[in-house]
């Protein structure tokens, strides 16, 4: 990270408003994209399928929720329900004979319409009350999915996802599924990066910070909160469908319960509210930390000759999420992204700290 800002000059508004105005960042990004796209060639199938693929998909989900929580400042504790609606709607749509691309849109639209219906009701209240209302959405959607056999096939049933297809061509390989998920993640990432530099994103931030001041410059707070709900739910729905098609490939109602919602909230908060990069970090930490932690606790337990039951082990990640959320809210409310930023700013002028 030893590079300097000196000598980087922008002579047009256009070049100053680029997504990555610093040349080094662009090169770094190119390298990371290359690493990401080439991952199937150098990672073992195990690592690709059980670490990288879920990371990419959950990052997409975290980005979708971050639009609502980070940019528009509205808490949503029912994001897993949003994803469930998308997943079930998309699977039923493909079974109905729609091509997959259309089915993904159906999933997204179903989520956004239902999400919006709840959002419109929920947005009459703020803060804690909004959180509780979205929690109600989670319960209602959970209940409906389990108790309406036409959707889930019953509480114990699994619903098989049809084969993933791109423009009608079946995709049967792990690499193909990974690239599909990566493609969606890239689109959502580009969207959110651009949101920050357009009037849409500025209006969202204005509503988040001071809705009365936003109103006086012509931003309708209610409209933009609803728009944020709509977009966020749409992304959630499509991501839920991708999760079903690329990762689970057979879905059950338990995959979209409240714990999952909390997990996505943890990703957003730990990663950094309102930060695109943060969602990548947050999803990575929240997904991967429990795996390492479980291995570590298991080996510690065997070293100490303690016998740990599996249900104790399975609760540890939940405790960890809670701890992480509390810890980050207390000590670094802007999350891992802010920590990254601090380190980067430090090295930008290192060792001449006074130059800042």
């Amino acid at each position: 990270m030893l590079y300097r800002l000196a000598g980087i000059r922008h002579t047009t508004y256009r070049s100053a408003r680029q997504l990555f105005p610093i040349p080094f960042d662009r090169k770094l990004l190119g390298f990371v994209i290359l690493l990401g796209v080439a991952a199937p060639f150098y990672l073992s199938p195990l690592h690709l399928n059980s670490y990288l693929l879920p990371w990419v998909i959950w990052t997409t989900a975290a980005l979708g929720l971050n639009l609502l929580m980070g940019w528009a400042g509205q808490v949503h504790l029912g994001y897993a329900a949003v994803m469930a609606i998308g997943a079930y709607a998309a699977i039923h749509a493909t079974r109905f004979g729609l091509p997959l691309e259309a089915a993904l849109l159906v999933g997204g639209l179903a989520s956004s319409v239902i999400g919006l219906a709840f959002g419109a009701a929920a947005l009459r209240v703020k803060g804690l009350y909004l959180a509780v209302t979205t929690l109600a959405m989670q319960s209602i959607v959970d209940w409906t999915i389990v108790h309406v056999p036409a959707i889930s096939g019953g509480s114990q049933a699994t619903l098989q996802a049809p084969t993933l297809r791109l423009f009608g061509l079946p995709i049967e390989t792990d690499a193909g599924r990974y690239w599909y998920a990566l493609g969606l993640c890239a689109i959502v990432t580009v969207f959110l990066l651009n949101v920050s530099r357009t009037s849409f994103g500025r209006a969202l931030v204005a509503v988040r910070e001071k809705d009365f001041a936003a109103a006086i410059i012509g931003v309708s707070p209610f409209k933009f909160k609803l728009l944020a709900f709509w977009c966020s739910s749409f992304i959630g729905g499509v991501t839920g469908a991708i999760l079903a098609f690329c990762y689970y490939r057979a879905i059950t109602p338990e995959q979209f319960h409240l714990e999952v919602s909390i997990q996505v909230v943890a990703m957003v908060i730990v990663g950094g509210l309102g930060s695109v990069l943060g969602s990548y970090f947050g999803a990575g930490l929240v997904l991967l930390a429990p795996i390492f932690l479980n291995n570590w606790v298991a080996s510690l337990a065997s070293a100490l000759n303690l016998s740990l039951q599996t249900d104790v082990l399975s609760q540890i990640p939940l405790v960890l999420y809670g701890g992480l959320i509390v810890g980050f809210l207390l000590f670094e409310p802007l999350g891992l992204a802010k920590i990254y930023d601090n380190v980067r700013n430090y090295f930008l002028v290192w060792p001449f700290r006074h130059a800042r």
Binding site: R17, F191, T198, K210, F212, A213, I216, I217, G218
Partner: protein, 263 residues
Amino acid sequence: MQEPEKVLEIRSVDRSFGGLRALKEVSLHVNRGEIFGLVGPNGSGKTTIVNSVTGFYPPDKGDILFEGRSIKGMAPHRVARLGIARTFQNLALFRGMSVLDNILVGRHIHMHPSALAALFYWVWAEREELRHRDIVEETIDFLQLQDVRDTPIEIVPLGLQKRIELARALVSEPRMLILDEPMAGMNQEEKEYMARFILDAREERGLTVLLIEHHMDVVSALCDRMTVLSYGEQIAGGKPAEALSNPRVIEAYLGTKGREHAA
């Protein structure tokens, strides 16, 4: 002589909060191109008037007309679209954005914000963004904010924040500007700068200004006409010199003893 055009007209407006009658039959009008002062001790209802004009507290009784059209009970974001901009007594800038972005939000009513435009930025949004950036830069030059342009708003000093809020109001190209204590907490030099900006803004942009201010030197120097409020009642009005020498005004500010001293 031609009758001056009334930009804003407040007709016997009444507003209560619970048992407190904050505005009692207040009537005033602001002519095109005027700087109109609104003064009075704390709690006299100045900000309540502004809030009922901008739609936050619709009046209980009476009517408010902007350019001949009733705006009573209109939602704040609609009032903004008619061409009224305001600043707040306690700053209301948006944290988490740079100074530039804060001012750019002010262009909201002239832009077409949409999620799709964000997704297809290079096709749909870029040209619009850059065009509005040009307009915003003019105001940045005008208010001499060039060197804080890219600074996060949180770390800009208070005096400058007031100026940024003025910039945000100005870029929306309003016909009427409402300034709620733009000079509160400023030192003499900052006050003089701000006074100059207000005069220049009226001169260059043909604005009509409604100014709430506590500094009497500023009010009497800047305003063409004014109204003095006390406990929601209009106690004096007219040219600053007349209004401020009115015994009831002196009484409101200094008490009856003070009136004897002043006399």
